[in-house]
Symmetry: C2
Subunit: 340 residues, 2 copies
């Protein structure tokens, strides 16, 4: 795989041109637009090598070259630098995010902002419950045998769930239950609660035992097992930019994939390392998204990560710009959350 500097430069030029024009790029136009200092014939030879190595391909004979997924990968890894944000973008981010009034608001603003700036489909995961701690648990009696359980997490998330009690429970007992669960659980990570919840049942007074058992079941179900991850989506209309050229003519699989929360979470939620992740075309494990690329990263207050966010677009996307925007937005959101 002897790719000298010039061949890399040719690849970079092809990617940049193709992203800009959306048309296969030929050797002649390439030397015209970029100062490569060599003739078209030489570029053609280089192209032949790049094609051999699988970085570019010809849609058909007598057409220019188009980068392959592998070509984009090389471009992203070795040929591009993260583009600094324009002052206008920076301002847009700041303006957009101030004045957010609660978590819902923050998430919605963020996802719209991301979609607008990148002109692609944006996805923002709500702060993960698994990475949140309990700030407060509230029990609101609906009837004598029904409670509304409200959990407030330190990330600002609020989850509620109806609890059907096996037997009527008087108001005083509800107060006791409330005190007990709060004493035991407040401050602990949700992922660490199962043993605590277990202990809660065992330690509770006999007359509370029944209610507490039901309550604990619901608690475990809601907060731990059914990892109730939520997310917000925006910018699907951006999929129609670039006519029907992107996504080989059919938006169908993409739209289908976007409806599957599980799929999206996998895409942007696994942001273990705090670095930005780029998945290009085929690298994607979801079949429906083989024609798309995803740029995602984690966000959270300070250096911790509580959730993921990212964008999805055609493989033919402006990677440097998109990566920069995604990172910047994630950083701003993190700062915003840190203020809480």
């Amino acid at each position: 795989m002897g790719l000298d500097d010039r061949k890399l430069a040719v690849l970079r030029a092809i990617v940049e041109d193709y992203v800009a024009t959306q048309e296969p790029v030929g050797s002649k136009t390439l030397v015209e637009r970029h100062q490569l200092g060599v003739s078209p014939a030489t570029v053609r030879n280089d192209m032949a090598v790049l094609e051999e190595e699988g970085y570019i391909r010809q849609p058909h004979t007598s057409a220019g070259r188009v980068p392959t997924d592998r070509g984009y990968r090389l471009f992203v890894d070795r040929l591009s630098r993260v583009k600094p944000l324009s002052p206008a973008e920076r301002r847009a981010i700041e303006r957009f995010l101030v004045g957010a009034v609660d978590l819902d608001d923050v998430v919605h603003r963020t996802v719209r902002l991301l979609a607008q700036l990148t002109r692609q489909v944006a996805v923002v995961q709500y702060p993960s419950l698994a990475r949140s701690s309990v700030r407060h648990l509230e029990l609101v009696p609906i009837s004598t045998t029904r409670l509304m359980l409200v959990m407030i997490a330190d990330t600002g998330r609020v989850e509620q769930r109806l609890v059907e009690l096996p037997t009527p429970v008087p108001a005083d007992d509800v107060t006791d239950l409330r005190r007990l669960v709060n004493e035991k659980l407040v401050g602990s990570r949700l992922s660490d609660t199962p043993p605590l919840v277990q202990a809660l049942v065992e330690e509770s007074a006999p007359h509370l035992r029944g209610a507490m058992t039901t309550l604990s079941t619901v608690l475990l179900e809601t907060l731990v097992e059914r990892t109730e991850e939520r997310l917000a989506l925006a910018g699907t209309a951006n999929l129609t930019r670039g006519g029907l050229l992107d996504f080989q003519g059919s938006l169908r699989p993409i739209l289908e994939a976007l409806e599957e929360e599980v799929v999206l979470l996998k895409l942007i939620g696994e942001a273990e390392p705090s670095t930005t992740r780029v998945l290009i075309g085929d690298e994607n494990e979801v079949d429906n998204l083989r024609a798309a690329s995803v740029v995602s990263t984690g966000y959270g207050p300070g250096s911790t990560i509580v959730g993921g966010l990212g964008v999805l677009g055609p493989t033919r996307m402006d990677y440097p710009g998109t990566i920069a925007t995604v990172r910047a937005v994630a950083r701003y959101v993190g700062e915003l959350l840190a203020q809480n």
Copy 2:
């Protein structure tokens, strides 16, 4: 506008055929597929009249006829009966909606169900706050100058909002505040609260006055002014059915409209009368949706209405079936809510 019975039958046949085949329908195929008891020539004469009256049109000379928006309207109003649901559909609805665990769950299941049954884009509005009553208000101290206000409505909706207090407020005072707002507001409709909230400030003890003022502002903002209506969406992938024929080739405007919550709320949220509403093509006031039809209705426990739901699809849609499904789903959801 003398449209005798046969002309109406011809129109009905045209609509049904076109909806089924998606192809302009000619006089010959029409008499073949439907027992009209007359010759193609006669049908042609009727068609000419129908076209004159604006109920059908020809995409081009030497093509069959296609219903106009006006034609669909006449069809819906006078030529179609609501199709009874198939047992399979009935079962699907029941199966889908049992086991819903909280409001979010109900809404999400409903919207997916609607999308699946109608094979169109489904929209479900959360129970409107304006039509809800306060069941409980909770104040959770986050710090000495910050409270989390949580409002639980009788419709199951839970809204939260951060309150920044002007001065630190001790825990005892928070207890007092909680008691006061609950005493005053629980049980009242949200739309009726403004005077009550006002009174709350005036009647509160001097040392609570400052905090109560801030609190009341937030209350009014969150619950009344910023009519925080939420909605859920599903089935956008269904827009791609029928190739690019529907929506005159561009999904763009549709997708854009679907991103605007305000627009959607207007579409399905204004379900004043409990009857089903059908908006066909041009009747739609949103420019982006001139190529689409919307079938919507209100839902709620018993005969009250707390929100709207509906579907959006091409004007060429199976109106009788869609209307039946939308109504049935709304009724089931209403029953489900009544159980709470």
